[in-house]
């Protein structure tokens, strides 16, 4: 949804907290009068200190439009101003200020028939998860592939849910790559994304796929260049950059 008129701050109440990995948690909020959203959109979160100092950050929405609560999945950055509060201090029943949904470019609708290619680096998977959850709830499911780069096995956000989504055998294939530690018996990729990996995972350019890439800026730029390298039109490739640290300064 992209409603018109002023975008107002509203008080959202935390109703559930889910630990995804040692550093990452999903926060489910009850947002009064939420107008609905599209997969790929984000919200701004604002914290105000007792002395009036305010910090604002953007977080992608992880939940699909079909769900009642608005879920944000946040990676705790140790030197961050906002994320250590969200992942560590915020408790169920607490409220914070939030506004949204925001964004009309990096969005996907289940009615889009093009094959879908999602490429995620770390917590860049969050808006792409909203797309996959939306796809899972849709009656007509376009073919989809996710290439997800994580540091180590324990860092794979949504790992069990992704396994379940892939096990449904409804046209979704998930490829993992681990860039640091690999557990015994690991069958996925074990390196940073490169041309050979993209060649293996990407839809043939003749199928004119819809492509979404999200993650830290160096990851997104490498992936986008590789996709153009296999003949994709740059206009098919929509990107969202988190900056150097992970989430715009956290």
């Amino acid at each position: 949804m992209t409603s018109r008129g002023p975008l107002l701050w509203t008080q959202a109440e935390l109703v559930e907290l889910v630990h995804e990995t040692p550093r990452v948690a999903s926060l489910l909020f009850n947002v009064p009068d939420w107008p609905g959203h599209l997969p790929g959109q984000h919200v701004d979160v604002r914290l105000t200190a007792e002395d009036g100092y305010q910090a604002e950050r953007s977080y992608s929405i992880a939940s699909p439009p079909e769900e009642r609560w608005v879920a944000l999945t946040v990676e705790r950055l140790d030197d961050g101003e906002v994320s250590p509060y969200l992942v560590g201090e915020l408790r169920v029943g607490d409220k914070l200020e939030l506004r949204g949904p925001i964004g009309g470019h990096f969005v996907w609708r289940a009615g889009d028939d093009r094959p879908l290619l999602l490429v995620a680096g770390g917590s860049g998977v969050v808006p792409l998860m909203a797309m996959l959850r939306h796809r899972a709830a849709a009656s007509h499911k376009t073919s989809a592939r996710l290439l997800f780069s994580s540091r180590a096995f324990a860092d794979i956000i949504y790992r069990e849910e992704l396994d379940r989504l892939a096990a449904a055998r409804d046209g979704l294939t998930i490829f993992h790559t681990l860039t640091r530690d690999t557990p015994q018996g690991w069958t996925g990729f074990t390196r940073r994304i490169d041309a050979a990996m993209i060649q293996q995972v990407a839809w043939p350019k003749e199928q004119t796929p819809a492509v979404f890439v999200c993650g830290p800026t160096p990851f997104v730029e490498a992936a986008a260049d590789l996709l153009v390298g296999v003949g994709y039109d740059p206009l098919w490739v929509k990107t969202e950059r988190f900056g150097a640290t992970g989430a715009s300064g956290g």
């Binding site: 964004g103 009309g104 990107t239 950059r241």
Partner: protein, 89 residues
């Protein structure tokens, strides 16, 4: 850390732009006054580590917009943007 690693894109300032415009701006198409390239605002380069926000054309790197917020005012320089085409939803 390389300066280039801090580059964001127009998606990051969707909220800031909605403080100024009543319509969603990241899916609007901006025409660069320098090179004439047309890009969705979600696709342009954004730098937020200066005192204000600097938006650059991804084709020629010319400044498209500068936005400074503070002291109860917004200061908006659109010299580098020839046109902005917003989509009614």
């Amino acid at each position: 850390m390389r300066m280039a690693d801090m580059t964001l894109d127009g998606n990051a300032i969707g909220g800031l732009l909605r403080e100024i415009f009543t319509m969603e701006v990241t899916n609007a198409e901006a025409t660069c006054a320098g090179c004439g390239a047309v890009n969705a605002v979600g696709r342009v380069e954004v730098y937020v580590h200066a005192p204000g926000t600097v938006v650059r054309c991804p084709a020629c790197r010319q400044v498209l917009m500068r936005i400074v917020r503070g002291g109860g005012r917004y200061w908006l320089d659109l010299t580098g943007t020839r046109t902005l085409e917003l989509v009614e939803t």
